[in-house]
Symmetry: C2
Subunit: 390 residues, 2 copies
């Protein structure tokens, strides 16, 4: 059976070159970077080289990068690290209504610790209104966290506009760039952010490695207390192989970005126009233009998203519904609710996320199978039959 | 040049069988375990199989295991997760004076959050006195954390005696078993503990994977908030390859434990008696019998430990001084201070930690080079020369 993987926002295969780069660090160069003998010192040096590569990917300085175990850990470290370090300055945090669970639940954690959290609404495309952000900032606001691109609807926020407002009011700005890094240009200075989370998963490095950018000498309470690793900001022996993998993947991501974007925009355009032409009563979710190049998401009327995923799966097509992490936990996606999708329609969510390995020919295959699956599911739906007068 | 690696407490090479087990999960079975389609479900199943293997290693039930990114994260999750979940019950924590930095600094973090922490002294061998623990427990004590075996002096605590006291007084007991798992039998029921940390590094799995055992349905505030992974107790997409590696390493550790212990006890005995016979003015640190089988640690008079490490390194011998994580941060090891080592003598700390790959022949080589290095360093030491009347 043909296999078409279009769920790259959930997971990507680790790239061959990345695996090759990592392998010697499992059993040959295996020493602990904190040791004082030659093997340790060499490995410490290797880690610093990777830090520079990751920094380059986002226009940062090497000393502004902390390696973490995931994008989720980076988000936790950003929110908790800043909130705990700055709580004497104020106890108010602002996040958008469509943040990843790791940001959302970190913020909620502080609500129980006598912080106040403002959840900024978004418009029908998932965009945060800069005016609204400006009005939400108070004298005790210490941190704003708004994601760069949303993994479920693909919308890209006007981060530099939003961060400028915060900069002016001396409020720190964090962005979760897990979905954007490697897919669009990400530069911490252009975005003008103080903290930025990224993950290896998005760029063909393994699950289990991420990084947090923090501007210069920003104070940050560690999330994982321990020894002097990562300049005292994250305890635990460094995960050397994955750090090497993230370094390699960063170099490749820089080299390939513009070709990848061109390719993905073409695929996205084919899938969006194809769905609109062939399937009735379907809504593109997220912004029509300000969206990730490889991201196409829809709500299809009178369809259960999960049933659709299963049917496509039977034809070797891998796609998603709602956020990857939340897909089993929630019936209705909070992101789709936040952009004003009626609950019935939100049930019919389907998300295709592509990368360089996807091919033009695959799109036609997906469109055919999607059409047939929708027809089949609708033919079984009493709701649809009554609507169509059958 | 000959190479003799005797710093297994700092890092171990990942075992070949472990690497082989992990490899297919990088680019073949790469799906996200939280997805609903076949690939995700299969990987979810694989994770649960590994959970059972890790559980078996320590006599736990699979649902009592949380995968983390390191022993340090496990320790943080244990201390912070319990303290935050139980703070209404009380705000007093007890730890020993010789805990790993990840326990120590997690506890200190709570001191700044209006908790009180008691640091239990240890005797000259590094042992915690059960009587003393009993007296330290108060009505507001919520957690005691005492490590199973110390990585710097090798001493094994009488955990079941200590935990029995806590059980009687309804205080939770956590043990950091990073140094003991895979080296001596570790069974959560025999030890009678509520929480136990372990790490992949100790058993030939990669750096960057660990686990926390928590008894049954113990309440635990997540350290990394996020989605529903690890039953909602740790957010972030699961690090599938390393989880598979930890599972494989756990199976091997169970199979090989007793042969390994016998082998290591022999090596330990050879190195300890050899050092005592050949080098004057040397003190074995830690307990003579209640110590890890592959662990030999000394303080050598009129020697700088770091200089000794460098000299041995020139002969291909890898050993350590003080705790691996702290070796660059601190001049005098807090563990050696806690067991009453005079500061001068503590400077001369050297630690050999062995595993199955070490051979009897290597011991003679190390003893010869160690003797020569000590002679050389002492000949350069004014302190030694005046003492010897040269």
């Amino acid at each position: 059976m043909k296999s078409v993987y279009m769920d790259h926002a959930s997971a990507t295969p680790v790239r061959e070159q990345v695996i090759e780069a990592m392998l010697p660090y499992f059993d040959q160069h295996f020493g602990n970077p904190s040791t004082v003998y030659d093997m340790g010192l060499k490995i410490k040096q290797v880690i610093e080289e990777q830090r520079a590569k990751v920094a380059k990917l986002i226009g940062a300085k090497p000393q502004e990068i902390i390696f973490t175990s995931s994008g989720a850990e980076s988000n936790n470290l950003a929110i908790k690290g800043v909130a705990l370090a700055r709580q004497k300055k104020g106890r108010h945090i602002i996040i958008s209504a469509i943040e990843h669970h790791s940001v959302l639940n970190s913020a909620r954690f502080f609500e129980r610790m006598d912080f106040e959290v403002t959840f900024l609404p978004v418009d029908e495309y998932g965009l945060v209104d800069p005016e609204r952000l400006s009005r939400a900032i108070r004298s005790d606001t210490i941190l704003v966290s708004i994601m760069h691109a949303n993994n479920e609807i693909g919308t890209i926020q006007p981060i530099s506009e939003l961060s400028a407002i915060c900069r002016e009011k001396d409020v720190l700005f964090h962005t979760d760039a897990v979905a954007s890094v490697g897919n669009i240009p990400v530069d911490v200075n252009e975005l003008n952010v103080d903290l930025l989370s990224l993950s290896g998963v998005s760029i063909g490095a393994p699950k289990g490695i991420g990084a947090l950018y923090f501007r210069d000498n920003l104070r940050l309470m560690p999330l994982i207390h321990g020894g002097i690793q990562e300049s005292g900001r994250r305890g635990g022996t460094e995960n050397v192989p994955y750090i090497v993998g993230l370094g390699k993947a960063s170099v490749l991501a820089v080299e390939e970005l513009f070709d990848k974007m061109n390719h993905l925009e073409k695929l996205r355009s084919l899938i969006i126009s194809g769905v609109r032409e062939r399937i009735e009563h379907v809504k593109l979710t997220g912004h029509p233009d300000k969206r990730l190049p490889g991201h196409a998401s829809f709500c299809i009327e009178a369809i259960e998203g999960e049933a659709l995923i299963y049917m496509l799966n039977q034809h070797g097509i891998y796609s998603n519904t709602g956020s990857a992490c939340a897909s089993k936990a929630l019936k209705t996606s909070p992101v789709l609710v936040a952009i004003g999708t009626p609950p019935d329609l939100a049930q019919g969510s389907i998300v295709f996320t592509m990368d360089s390995s996807n091919k033009v020919e695959e799109i036609e295959y997906v469109l055919v199978k999607l059409y047939l699956a929708v027809e089949k599911l609708r033919s079984l739906s009493p709701l649809w039959r009554s609507k169509e007068g059958i």
